[in-house]
């Protein structure tokens, strides 16, 4: 359970995250949607202690994230940000192996390599696992990074725009993998996502943000609603039911 209470963050006198409170249940996918500059990435960075919050409280399973040891927290929660420019000579396998650092402190044991292999298999990277990162396409690199987060084997996984740079096939593949992680392994996933149709089709809960404030949060079927979406994006978005899925038509 992730509990966020009255969290604030200011950049140069401007409130980027403004009194946000959410609680996120275990074993669900929660999507954060909203226009650019709504504070989604900032919020998710604060939950993963990448940036400090100005006020408020964030607890994970009852533990305050600022008072938990870095290494313990790294076994509980992992984050993948949208910009992943690593300029090192690394192969996919070596990158994924870094995910074991919280457990191995750099000296990988057999059980760590088992997890690395599992993560590589899960992301279907087996054939290219010895390729260097700079030889990969954007989609392959993104999948390699997700594999690294999987190898970290945390209960909570935070992803900041994981579908960036991906074509439809890979986007769908990744969302299905995430769904599988939640349904089969009981992980809890929080993601920032721009495509509201992906949010609508794959997530259990949606949190809609605008100007740092929560406009609406709840089950997916409640948030994907014409009036709510109009509040968030200031545009008329028609919603069609196709095979029991709510698809937004905004073109």
């Amino acid at each position: 359970m992730v509990d966020i209470k009255n969290v604030f963050k200011m950049y140069n006198q401007k409130k980027v995250v403004d009194d946000v409170s959410i609680s996120i249940e275990k074993g669900t996918i929660t999507s954060f949607i909203g226009p650019n500059g709504a504070g989604k990435s900032t919020l998710i960075s604060m939950i993963s202690r990448l940036i400090a919050k100005d006020d408020g409280e964030i607890t994970i399973d009852g533990q305050d994230i600022m008072k938990t040891k870095n290494n313990e927290l790294a076994k509980k929660i992992s984050i993948l940000k949208q910009s992943n420019s690593i300029n090192l000579k690394l192969t996919i396998r070596e990158l994924v192996a870094f995910g074991r650092f919280p457990y191995s402190q750099g000296k990988l044991r057999n059980e760590d390599w088992v997890k690395v292999d599992e993560a590589i298999r899960y992301m279907e990277l087996g054939e290219i696992q010895d390729k260097y990162l700079d030889e990969l396409s954007g989609g392959q690199r993104q999948r390699a990074h997700i594999a690294m987060v999987l190898a970290q084997d945390t209960e909570y996984i935070l992803l900041d725009e994981p579908l960036n740079n991906l074509d439809m096939r890979h986007s769908v593949q990744i969302m299905k993998t995430l769904r599988k992680l939640v349904d089969e392994l009981g992980k809890t996933i929080l993601l920032v996502i721009h495509d509201i149709n992906f949010a609508s089709c794959y997530s259990d809960h949606i949190v809609a943000l605008k100007d740092g404030k929560i406009i609406k949060q709840g089950r997916t079927c409640d948030v994907i609603d014409q009036c709510v979406l109009k509040d968030i994006y200031d545009m008329d978005i028609e919603i069609q039911n196709i095979d029991d899925r709510k698809i937004c038509v905004y073109f």
């Binding site: 993963s48 984050i79 690394l90 070596e94």
Partner: protein, 316 residues
């Protein structure tokens, strides 16, 4: 060729060159010449090692291949601190008379400055590398000019006394600091060992490192202190060589083709020793002191620096 093999080959070349420097053309009063040559080589090895090691750490902390402590002006700062101490205490004071005390006070001030540097440059949100580079250039020039300015103000007699002890070069190694430098470097290395395991992860960048449970700010601060100490030691022993660190660490990365710091650090340390000892040998025996090794290294390093700037510019 494996990393291990490459490292061993570099080590062997470094040792052979050191031997060559010590034993080449050894005639006359051996009892006088030999110890002097040995201590000079030891000083050069310490300096080369310290520069290579600190530059590798610094590049990992700042996550780039262009910015080095020297480019940021840390060695000019050391000279400024030295001048400042004479300016305040005078050349005949206790602080100046005992070179060891003077040395330790200077290192202390350097450590304090590195903490300031941390506050201003690393604490904030993500900094642009070109911004840091610009700040470094300005600070380096400022420190240099300020040093000159204070030297002009000092009593000329005091300056003469101090100059000999303060401003070392490869031809004029500060040999009386060698023993205490060994102690300082060993102490810094022992302190460094506890942070060693984090280096590979930190090279992935701050966000990845924090995600993987590295107490990032805590470690960066301490590593910067170690960098400041090592730069002080190297500058005190043979003076500033601005582009040596940049050159050897980048060559090491190119040669080793790995992200593992163990090999990159050792590689750069040996390359640095090869460049300094080999270079000094060439300068003494072939150029017969017509030029200095700092000039040669800064020339090659400077060209390489421009090349790196242009290359990085393209990739962004």
């Amino acid at each position: 060729m494996g990393y291990k093999k490459k490292t061993i080959i570099l080590a062997i070349i470094a040792i052979l060159l050191a031997m060559l420097y010590i034993f080449y053309d050894l005639r006359g009063n051996i009892g006088y010449i030999l110890p002097r040559r040995i201590i000079k080589v030891v000083a050069i090895v310490l300096t080369g090692g310290a520069i290579a090691f600190s530059t590798t750490i610094f590049m990992t902390i700042t996550n780039n291949r262009i910015l080095t402590p020297s480019v940021l002006g840390l060695d000019s700062l050391y000279l400024l601190v030295q001048t400042f101490i004479i300016f305040i205490f005078g050349a005949n004071s206790l602080v100046m008379m005992s070179s060891n005390i003077n040395y330790l006070v200077s290192i202390g001030i350097m450590v304090l400055f590195s903490l300031l540097l941390y506050r201003f440059l690393f604490r904030g949100e993500k900094n642009n590398i070109y911004f840091l580079l610009l700040i470094g250039m300005i600070l380096g020039t400022f420190f240099g000019s300020f040093t000159d300015f204070m030297q002009v103000l000092i009593d000329p007699n005091e300056f003469m006394v101090a100059q000999d002890r303060m401003f070392a070069s490869v031809n004029n190694v500060n040999t009386d600091l060698v023993y205490i430098s060994i102690i300082i470097i060993v102490a810094a290395l022992i302190y460094f060992m506890r942070f060693y395991k984090y280096l590979d992860v930190m090279a992935l960048g701050k966000e990845h490192a924090v995600n993987l449970g590295v107490p990032y700010d805590y470690i960066v601060k301490r590593l910067l202190v170690i960098v400041a100490i090592l730069i002080s030691v190297s500058t005190a022993l043979i003076g500033p060589i601005t582009f040596l660190g940049l050159l050897v660490v980048n060559v090491s990365y190119e040669l080793m083709k790995t992200y593992r710091h163990f090999y990159v650090i050792w590689g750069s340390v040996f390359i640095s020793i090869i460049a300094l000892v080999g270079g000094q040998f060439v300068v003494e025996k072939i150029f017969t002191f017509d030029t200095t090794i700092s000039v040669i290294i800064n020339f090659i390093g400077g060209v390489y620096f421009i090349y790196l700037l242009l290359k990085e510019n393209k990739s962004w």
